[in-house]
Structure formats: structure tokens, C-alpha cells
Amino acid sequence: MPNIPIFAAVGGYELHELKDIFIMQGFAGLTLFSVFLLMALGLVIIFGQMKVINMAHGEFLTAGAYTTVFLSKMTQTYLPKLMPIYFPIAMLAAFGVAFLIGWIVEYLLIRHLYSRPLDTLLATWGISMLMRETFRLLFGAREAGAVMPNWLMGSLSPSEGLDIPINGIFLLSTAVFMTLFIFFLLQRSHWGLCVRATLVDRTMANAVGINTARTDRMTFAIGCGLAGIAGAAFTTYSSVSPSAGSLYIIDSFIVVVFGGAGNILGTVLSAFGIAQAQSILEFFTSGVIAKVMVLLTVIVILMIRPQGLIATKIRR
């Protein structure tokens, strides 16, 4: 598709209308950034801190989304008066459900495979298939959507012609809040201390009395819980189906690896970079070409700098 210079294509537009559209385009980029960040947060904890390749990450997202859909239907049928406030509760429930499933999966399966990264890849891939078929059995193969409370629908119009989608604002605030929350959790909480200690030197951490097995389980479960919250947030702008997870897993890994696995700041930067690049390129070229160009750039940068944007120094 020819790259039409933007000004030649918009003959007849006022300058302030163009300004509005560029603001909306910038916001579209921020929305994509929040999507990538939410997806990658759970993964950066698991992959970064524990070096576990969790191929079932997308399915934990889907589990959170289905929890939201389920609660949405329950609220609609039995407690319609609670419709306006059910969504935050649904997000907490999504965290809880994904956390629980993650805890169980870690206890039953992952903890036996810490020294075998390729086997965790295979095992979590199997878990993802299992979860996908369970969703299909429980919820049917069709796409399902959650009913949005009215305060999440539509858009804000600060001025004529400028429409900021409310769910975009919601996604952005959720992403920012979760990132700050996890950051402070890692830096200030007891669990965060245990995780950082285990990462530096596992044997010494065990020697000073930290239950590293318990810490690992908590980390995995929290990572899965974060994926659940991301899934709940995604129901605001998209649908959920049993195989929705597979759409997110690849982008999540790209964001995490590009940012330097194990680093929340790196993930934030990489999510922002990839999202804005993709969004702007989509606007000027076509959807497919934008994705191809972004991915090629990521590959080239990773070849030059394989440790990602911000490398974490880990003593081996």
C-alpha cells in the first residue's frame, strides 16, 4: 500500500481536527502499551525471577477473563442492582482464581522441573492445552463477552471531535497501578525480599532460613494472578474464547525478552517502545506491515544486544 503523505490525504481538514486525531492516535498507542504491559507483568515475574518459561501464561489470562464473564452473567441474572460495582470485584476474583490455579500447578508440576528449563516449556505447554480444553468443556467453544457496567462504556469528549475511550483510560490506570504495586511489593515486602535473596544466591538464602520452595510457589502464583487481572481487564475491549490465550502469549514473551527478562523497568520501556512503534506504523502503513516492521526491528536490536534493553546483573 503506498505511503500517502498524511497532509496530502486530508485535504479539507482544519488544523485543530488534525490535532485531535493525533491526540487520539497517541492515546491508541498508550492503550496498546497498557495491554502489552498487563500481559507481560505476570510473565516478567515468573520468567525473570524464576527463569521458568510459562507457556500457559495466556491460559491464565483466559482464566481471569472467564471468571469475569462468569461473574458478569451471575450478577446480571441474580443481582442486577450490583451491576455498576461488580467489575472491581470481578477483577479481584480473577486474581484469586488465577492465583489458586497457579499455586496448584506449581505444587503439582513446576517445582519438580526447576533445573530443567526445556521440560518446563513442554510441561507448561501441556498445561495450556489442558486448560484450553477445560475452558471449552465448561464454557463452550463460542466467544463469550462480559457485560460492561455503564461507567466503562463509551468515551469522554473533552472537546468536539476528540473521543477518548473510557476503557482505554481504565486499562492505562490498571496497568500503571499494577506495575507500581508489583514494584513496591518486590522492593518493600517480605516476599519481595525473599525473592530477591533467592535470586542472588539460592543456597545462602536457604541457609539463612528462607523457605525458597515456598517463595517460588508464591512467586509463580502471584505471576499467574497478575495474568488473571490482565485477562479481566481485557474483557472491556475484546472477547474471550477458549483459545484466546494463544493470541497473547507470543507478544508477552517478545515484550519480556526485549526488555531484559527479570526487570520491571525494562518491561515498561519495551512495552512502551513496541506499542508506540506499532501504533504509529499502523496509522501510516497497514496493520500487517506495521507488525512485520516492529518485529524485524526487535530482532535486529536483540541481535545487537541480546540481554535486552535493561540487563539485570545476576551473580552466578
Binding site: M1, A9, V10, Y13, I21, M24, Q25, F27, A28, T31, L32, V35, R136, A141, R142, E143, A144, G145, V147, M153, G154, S155, S157, D163, P165, I166, N167, G168, T236, Y237, S238, S239, S241, P242, S243, A244, L247, S279, E282, F283, S286, G287, V288, A290, K291
Partner: protein
């Protein structure tokens, strides 16, 4: 790895669970005896070694029940099963009950190809009712032509094909795309923004649309064209581009699961049927609109009617059609699948498939593919829910095109209908280079 007794027991239990395949279905009768066996002996009706016995004939179903296309294809599966059940209840075809072997294409075209081979070579089914996307049809076409099988393909598609081994129950381009664009032009639209999912059907359809708009619609032009991968869920940039170009008609061919994200994000960006209708077209006549050819009641079930109200679809069937055939059909469908079941255009076309096949077989007096193909042109199905259909020599159906407006409850209101049955013309002159 040590094989403790506990592990072996668990493994065997899992295996046993897998083996407990749900057997049988209620679409065909068990222990059936063919009352017309003397008139249609197996040796006479099946000379090519198909899966035909004295009392049963086996057909195949090949749709995606998993993956991004499942939102659209499950309706087809249900409709075909209903048709087969009704045919069986009426005595079957050539006195035989129809049995179904169902395979899952999983929204993956190589899987379609592999399952088609399995159905035709291993199961030797007499006919296959399957496929939805043009990509899946193109993937299985070589198999059907090599093994001389029969495919009944339900979806509206871009035309440019007329295989001996396929019967196309859906509209092709001239019956759906061209008539729909003519209607939009009559509503006053002069600038068109074409968009769709990135595979053969949307791209070819938009190519035909572009030729029609630039060559045959006076004063009309295409202001943009965009494609996004199947399964894509992020349309914000595209929506901003559309706002920038401000077309009279958004011509959308978004397919499958992406529909949900597309409509929800349109709504979030403030683009609704009503908001478009308030803006004036560049011609001065009428308001702007969005016309799709790929969003039916099946997809709206997942999107939510509130997100779609006011947009238009061009199809040959809507669940709300007001004729006695359709009322009976909808009642039977809801009786079998629940009162909240919905029926889209493709599902209705899929419903016609088994009936058209059964009638062709009865006319030919045989299950042999060559004889069925020879007997098929001219076969009529008067009880079709869309009204009346007839098989054309080129294996397509004569049908009427309609424009439906999406309502908040997920149904459509028919606002325009072609006066006569449109003759199918899969190779329209002037549209193929």
C-alpha cells in the same frame, strides 16, 4: 523416572476416561431397517465403494469447533445436524439413515486438508458438509478433486471458482458484494473505506469491490484499504485512520473472533450506527453508514447487540425473515438447541446443504458422486428458510439479496431486498483480469 504403582494407576485411569468417547447421537436412528431396499439395492446405488450399507449412509462434517473461527462455524454444524435429523425422521435418503462423522478443522487450514483426506480416503463418506473460510475451502479443494468427493460449502464467498466437486450454498460476489455496494450507492455513499481480515476472501472481495466502485459507480471512489490478521484484537489505529478519512461508507469484512474487538472498539471510539447516520454524505444525499458482509447473528451473539445497533449487513437470510418456512425452521432450531440459539446467514445456507444433497441423490437414484453431480442442476428446495432456492449449472444457488439493519437485541430488520432472484455468476466479465 520411576514407575510407581500410583503413577501407573493414574495413567490408566486417564486413558480410560479418554476412551469413553460419547457414542451415537440423536440425529439418526439405531437399528434401522431400510424399507426401500428392494428399490435401491446397495450394489446399484453405490458403485464406487462409498460408506453405504443396506440401512445407513455415512457423511462427513468438517468445521472448526475450536479456534478463532468457532464463533462462526458452530452455527453451521448445528444447522447441518438439524437438517440431517429432519431428513432421517422423514425416512432418510434412498431409505437409508444418514450417519455423521464429525471432524474439527480447528481454524487451521492444513488441518482442514488433513481431515478432508481422512474423511474421503479412510472413511469414504458419501458427501462432506464443511468449511467456512475461503482459505479452508482452497485448502481442501485439491483433495476433493483428486478423490472425486462432494463438498457442500455454505459460506458467501468471493466467487471466481466453480468446481465439479463442490456445491456452493452461499452467495458469490455478484449476488452479495456488488448488489450491496449498489444499495450503498443508492443511499448516497460516494467514498468507501474497505477493510477486512487478512486472507483470501476479504482481499479478493475488496478487489472486486474496488473494481465495481471505481469503474461502475459514477462519482464514487475508494479512500482507504486495510487488513488485519485473523484473530487481531487491536483496531484503535484503524479507527483513527477511518476518522481521519471520514468515508461515507465503511465497508467491513472482519471475520470471526476479531468482530468482537472491532465492534466494541468502534463503540468505545464513539462510532455507532446512529452517529454515522447523523453525518451527511459527500453527495449530500442521506447519512453515512457501515456495511459489512461478514457479521451475522452468530457473531453478534458474541459481540452483544448493543455494540452493533444501526450498522448494516448484506446477506440472503436473516433470522427475523417473515415467511412460513423460516418460522418453522427457527422453531425447530430453537427446540433442538435452546431458546437463546441464533441462526445466521451461513448457518441457514449450511442447513440447505444436506437437503440439497438428499434431493440430488433421490433424483439420481444413486450415491455415486458423478451421478449426483449430473442430477443436481435444477434441483429445487422450496422449504428453504430464505424462501426458494434452485441449483444452477455452475453449482451455485439462485437467491435474493437483502440488506438487514442490526438491532439492539441481536436480530436484524430487513430494509431492502432484491426484486428478483439473482443468477449466480462466479466469473463476472469486467471483474477478472
Amino acid at each position: 523416572m520411576n514407575f510407581s504403582k500410583k503413577n501407573t494407576f493414574a495413567a490408566l485411569a486417564a486413558l480410560a476416561l479418554c476412551a469413553a468417547v460419547p457414542a451415537g447421537a440423536d440425529e439418526w436412528k439405531a437399528d434401522w431397517k431400510n424399507p426401500e431396499l428392494a428399490k435401491y439395492p446397495t450394489a446399484k446405488v453405490d458403485t464406487t465403494g462409498l460408506a453405504v450399507t443396506d440401512n445407513y449412509v455415512t457423511v462427513g462434517q468438517l468445521h472448526s469447533v475450536t479456534g478463532t473461527m468457532s464463533i462462526s462455524e458452530i452455527g453451521s454444524v448445528e444447522a447441518e445436524r438439524l437438517a440431517i435429523q429432519q431428513i432421517n425422521d422423514a425416512g432418510g435418503v434412498l431409505g437409508r439413515q444418514i450417519r455423521i462423522i464429525q471432524e474439527d478443522g480447528a481454524s487451521d487450514w492444513p488441518t482442514f486438508n488433513e481431515k478432508a483426506k481422512k474423511l474421503l480416503i479412510k472413511d469414504k463418506v458419501a458427501a462432506v458438509f464443511g468449511c467456512w473460510t475461503s482459505a479452508s475451502r482452497k485448502a481442501v479443494l485439491p483433495v476433493f478433486e483428486k478423490e472425486n468427493g462432494l463438498l457442500y460449502y455454505p459460506t458467501f464467498y468471493e466467487g471466481l471458482e466453480a468446481s465439479k466437486n463442490v456445491f456452493y450454498e452461499g452467495q458469490e460476489a455478484t449476488q452479495q458484494i456488488i448488489w450491496g455496494l449498489d444499495w450503498a450507492y443508492k443511499q448516497g455513499c460516494r467514498t468507501f473505506y474497505l477493510l477486512g481480515s487478512d486472507y483470501i476472501w476479504p482481499r479478493t472481495s475488496n478487489k472486486i469491490a474496488r473494481i465495481h466502485i471505481t469503474r461502475y459507480l459514477k462519482g464514487a471512489k475508494v479512500v482507504g484499504e486495510d487488513y488485519y490478521p485473523l484473530g487481531n484484537t487491536n483496531f484503535n489505529s484503524l479507527i483513527n485512520k477511518i476518522k481521519l478519512k471520514n468515508p461515507d461508507c465503511i465497508y467491513s469484512i472482519v471475520v470471526g473472533g476479531s468482530n468482537v474487538a472491532w465492534f466494541k472498539q468502534l463503540k468505545a471510539a464513539g462510532i455507532t450506527g446512529e452517529s454515522l447516520a447523523h453525518k451527511k454524505n459527500t453527495s449530500g444525499i442521506g447519512g453515512k453508514l457501515m456495511l459489512t458482509i461478514s457479521t451475522t447473528e452468530d457473531e453478534i451473539l458474541g459481540i452483544g447487540g448493543k455494540n452493533c445497533a444501526g450498522f448494516y449487513t448484506c446477506a440472503k437470510y436473516f433470522q427475523s425473515l417473515d415467511n412460513p418456512n423460516n418460522k418453522k425452521f427457527v422453531a425447530a432450531f430453537k427446540a433442538k438447541y435452546g431458546k437463546d440459539a441464533v441462526i445466521g446467514d451461513v448457518s441457514q445456507a449450511a442447513y440447505e446443504g444436506p437437503w440439497l444433497w438428499a434431493k440430488s441423490v433421490e433424483k439420481a437414484g444413486s450415491f455415486d458422486v458423478d451421478k449426483v453431480v449430473e442430477a443436481a442442476p435444477g434441483v429445487v428446495f422450496e422449504n428453504a428458510p430464505e424462501g426458494y432456492v434452485r441449483i444452477h449449472k455452475n453449482h451455485h444457488l439462485w437467491s435474493r439479496a437483502k440488506i438487514g439493519k442490526m438491532l439492539e437485541d441481536g436480530q436484524f430488520k430487513v430494509v431492502a431486498e432484491s426484486k428478483d432472484l439473482i443468477e449466480p455468476n462466479p466469473f463476472p466479465k469486467g471483474y477478472i483480469k
